[in-house]
Amino acid sequence: MTLNVSHLSVHHGAIRAINSLSLAIPTGALAAVIGSNGAGKTSLLRAISGLNQASHGKISWMGKSILGDKPEILVRKGISHVSEGKSVIPELTVKENLELGAIWRRDKKEMIETLDLVVSIFPRIGERLAQRADTLSGGERQMLAIGRSLMSKPKLLLLDEPSLGLAPLVVEQIFQTIRELTTSMRLTVVLVEQNAMGALRIADLGIVLNLGKVVAVDHAQALIDDPAVRAAYLGY
């Protein structure tokens, strides 16, 4: 198991967002985390990436505790978080947004190689390198956000609602890309999604959260077939 979370609790003031939550995600798996609004999905991701402080519990990555590490340190350990919304900096150019993802690296040559790789994955981003990021469409921005994250050559990718606010066709495309990247770049991915069906379809593992706890873990396909999960989260 690459990512291990045990008995994790996260508080926002008096509100308990995550309540003694435990889960484990194996290397190379694409895990979809689903659940209704306020189930704690975003809080979980933000705790793993160091943006939220845990009040209790343990998080370990590749056998070492990462609890209390800051995000700027974790990205150096291979953990990259694409936060909610189209997480790009509109005032910067597309190329600067990508370069930002590799900014902590000293090696300029490696940065250029990674840039070429990202451009080959997202050719539409490659055509717009000199443009400001706020000229991109919603789908392109999401690709840019994922591209920036890939620039750090992550091992663990944390994605928070990449489908948010996108047209169905674009959502389909983003999900397919995430699936392909997981396999081709040998990533471990935690995908938090409101679009439960779309996420489970591409995922290996499905995790259902409710009120800050894990209420179901199974193969993604098994969750899709589970009548209770269908009724509660998939809407049919």
């Binding site: 800051k70 700027e72 150096r76 978080h81 509109p90 910067l92 600067e96 930002l100 993802g101 920036r148």
Partner: protein, 301 residues
Amino acid sequence: MQLLNTILIGITAGSIYSLMAIAFVLVWRSTRVINFAQAGMALLSTYFGYEAVTRIGSFWIALPIAMLGGAIFSALVEVILMRVLVKHSSSGPIAAVAPIIATLGLLGLIRSVIAMIWGGQDLRILPPVSNNGFTVNGEVLVFSPLKLLILITTLILMALLTLLFQRTNLGLSFRASAYAPEIARLSGVRVDLIRTLGWALAGAAGAVAGVFQTVNGNGNFSPDSIEFSLLLVSGFIAAVIGGLDSLLGAVIGGMFLGLTISFILMYVSSGLFFIAPFVVLLLVLFIRPQGIIGVKVGRRA
């Protein structure tokens, strides 16, 4: 010739205001605080410069020493004072404005400490070249070799700052941290360090503004120097005109203010020296409250 003279005086003064405005903008962008102590820091740096120039004798060695002193002092203020105050600033109405009030307190504190160390009397920094105006066709201008040198030096410093911000990784870290600190952190930028460096750069820019404001005047300065109050007001106004968020805006704001004041003094009345900057500020706030190239709030939502 009078017109050219007015323009040149205007952009020289404007370049000094621009440096001060840059200091305001750098601090605002990194910490969202208006640093009213900026004038005190510039004054303290000018004392550093004075010490260096009396010991070493060279203005051009004293200037970088003043900049370094200003940068270190400013960075210390951020680390020791601001970091704590800003951390608490979400816990109520007083805490929210506490950092800004604190800079006002710091301004008074710096001036008092300076008076304790150096005394309240006027000290003097001699300009490196003559401040006697150029003579063109037998006509003596106000524009002088010193003003030319100030103008060239400020323009070089601004060009260097632009290169730093637009062409280097450090510059990209500065911009990313200002626009979106969370995304910057997730990308591996040490935002706390960048914030301190932003204050340090502001301290250096303010130091140059302070030294130049002094030599561009009569060379005299003291803890309650009116020149530094003017510098504070002009730099602040220039930064606001420029939208408070933009380095280019700070330069445009400074030049605009310098030229406007220069024209008013030359063609209307030199008695308007203390009134003109405020009239300009009020007019700009009435006509374009977001500043000349400031952004409208809510654009990013």
